[in-house]
């Protein structure tokens, strides 16, 4: 067990005994025709943590999210959520979790309050508690002033906040966030990050898929990097960076031919490298002191580790 996993286990322990994972996937495979979207995935999420699933488009993140609500059924393997076995007991699991989808599926004809009231009913919130639950969700999402506004009159950021409020109206123990800030401008993204951070602080278990490095770094206790339908690495962001990208990265700028020549030299010397915008970034630079060409030295980032792990650039 690595340092980060040990810390995570300690976080999840209750009175010295390890708590059962909030989510557990074992050998999960999901195929769509000839395409294997999820290829034998093993993943545990301890209660009370925020796990960020980071991966490029097509890594299998959204399919994994859909399997956790039984909107996709695995071809192989087993899934349990909050102690319920899926897909047979998925309804019970869904009653205890909230889901914020990547795609906006709000009813545009209804107001914020009407949508939350419908979902409070669907989540079996008792009739007497519904108005209070709706009001609380509106407050969490900072939409109290817009309670009677129809969805098609809300801005993109407000709609996204309403999606989050809809997933929280029943005070779930577990929240699934599928690319919660995709396509939003930086200011709205900051607002949503505050909202998600507040959820974490309350002790709600959060599973968040994202392909934004910064989002994973800022919000997740632990990051699982997915590529080609599998988790290829997992740990605290800082541990992942140290393990896969070292402590320092050396960026060399120059004409394309020069960088190509450098890449060939690096391949011969066994340097780990990646393109970083107009530069060639040499990872684990601290190991090659004195042998590297002129360039700019910077601290290694999760993006460096991500590219090493997945072979793909990311936003």
């Amino acid at each position: 067990m690595g340092v980060s996993e040990a810390a995570e286990a300690a976080h999840a322990s209750v009175d010295g005994a390890a708590a059962a994972p909030a989510i557990s996937l074992r050998g999960v495979v999901k195929r769509f025709g000839t395409i294997t979207a999820v290829a034998g995935l093993d993943l545990d999420v301890a209660p009370g943590i925020c796990l960020g699933v980071l991966g490029p488009n097509g890594a299998g993140k959204s399919t994994t999210m859909r399997m956790l609500t039984a909107q996709a059924i695995p071809d192989e393997g087993s899934i349990s959520v909050l102690g319920w076995r899926l897909p047979g007991e998925s309804k019970q699991a869904r009653a205890e979790m909230g889901v914020v989808p990547q795609l906006d599926n709000l009813d545009v004809e209804l107001t914020c309050r009407q949508i939350l009231t419908v979902f409070a009913r669907l989540y079996r919130v008792p009739a007497g508690e519904r108005p209070g639950a709706v009001q609380r969700a509106l407050q969490i999402a900072n939409l109290t002033e817009r309670a009677e506004t129809k969805v098609d009159e809300l801005s993109g950021g407000m709609r996204r906040r309403l999606l989050i409020a809809r997933g929280l109206v029943h005070r779930p123990r577990l929240v699934l966030l599928d690319e919660p800030t995709v396509g939003l401008d930086p200011q709205v993204r900051q607002e949503l990050w505050s909202l998600i951070a507040a959820l974490r602080a309350e002790g709600t278990t959060v599973l968040m898929s994202t392909h934004y490095i910064e989002e994973a770094e800022r919000l997740a206790d632990t990051v699982a990097v997915m590529a080609r339908g599998l988790v290829v690495a997992r740990g605290k962001p800082a541990d992942l960076v140290r393990e896969h990208a070292g402590t320092q990265t050396h960026e060399v700028y120059g004409p394309a031919a020069r960088l190509e020549e450098l890449r060939a030299q690096g391949a011969r010397n066994g340097w780990a490298m990646r393109r970083s915008g107009p530069a060639l970034a040499i990872l684990h630079a601290e190991r090659h002191d004195g042998t590297l060409p002129d360039g700019v030295r910077r601290a290694a980032t999760l993006e460096d580790a991500f590219v090493v792990l997945t072979g793909e650039e990311i936003e």
Partner: protein, 266 residues
């Protein structure tokens, strides 16, 4: 946490709370668009009633001992039910699952496909149960004198409506594009509407077509309505008509769930 407060109750496959929850969404939307929905559902059959009743009614005085206006006034009920059930079942469902992704949102909550489909059928069936009576009320305003058993008409309309919503939902869950509905409207619904015995008896058809027309669910709705409103209940025959509608509806309900599950669950 709420789950602790409410306990870890095992949820059943077809829960009334989920069905009512989905219907509450439809009812909330209806409070916004009831005028357009009601207009489109009742005006067209009422125009048919007035056009045929007074147009053909001037040429044909009676059919089978019934005044032609009474004949059409009772028959057109089935048309009103068809228009207010099959079309919302087809178009409404298609829009909700394909473009608005409303059903995806429901499925992330503790709601299953069975409950979504059942709720849609019940809600639109209830609306059809009300709208179907409008042509009859118009006919009554123009002199039709109904029997007390006419109070059963909303039940007939509800059952027929549910069956045709299920038919519409099954088609919506099968169609690849909304344009496919043109084939169904022209190739299935229009022939059904014309061979239901609404405007003329199906005995006018050649024997082969008449035999097929007897398998038309709308024909059984027309016969039931005519019997309870003006001709008088014939227990055995009317039970047969009702049973036909029930079997048609229950079969299509299961087909609609099966097709929709294939659409919604990967």
């Amino acid at each position: 946490m709420s789950s602790t407060r409410r306990g870890r109750r095992r949820l059943h496959r077809l829960e009334p709370a989920a069905v009512i929850g989905v219907m509450s969404r439809d009812a909330t939307v209806f409070t916004r668009n009831w005028k357009t929905t009601t207009f489109s559902s009742i005006v067209e059959p009422t125009i048919y009633l007035l056009a045929f009743g007074f147009g053909f009614g001037a040429l044909i005085t009676s059919i089978g001992g019934l005044d032609y206006k009474q004949y059409v006034g009772t028959g057109i009920v089935a048309t009103a039910v068809l228009f207010s059930s099959a079309f919302p079942g087809m178009y409404g469902t298609f829009l909700k699952y394909r473009f608005q992704r409303t059903y995806d949102a429901f499925l992330a909550a503790p709601v299953d496909t069975d409950e979504i489909v059942s709720a849609e059928i019940l809600w639109i069936g209830m609306r059809a149960g009300v709208y179907g009576n409008v042509p009859l009320l118009v006919a009554i305003a123009f002199g039709l004198d109904p029997r007390p058993t006419a109070l059963l008409v909303p039940i007939v309309c509800f059952v027929t409506g549910c069956a045709f919503v299920a038919f519409g939902v099954a088609l919506a869950a099968t169609a690849e594009s909304i344009d496919n509905f043109s084939y169904i409207t022209s190739g299935v619904l229009t022939p059904m509407f014309l061979t239901a015995g609404t405007f003329f008896p199906i005995s006018s058809f050649p024997a082969g077509i008449e035999a097929v027309a007897r398998l038309n669910p709308l024909y059984h709705c027309v016969q039931l309505v005519r019997d309870v409103v003006v001709l008088g209940v014939e227990p055995l025959a009317d039970l047969g008509h009702f049973a036909f509608l029930l079997v048609f509806g229950l079969s299509l309900w299961r087909v609609a769930i099966w097709r929709m599950r294939k659409r919604l669950i990967d």
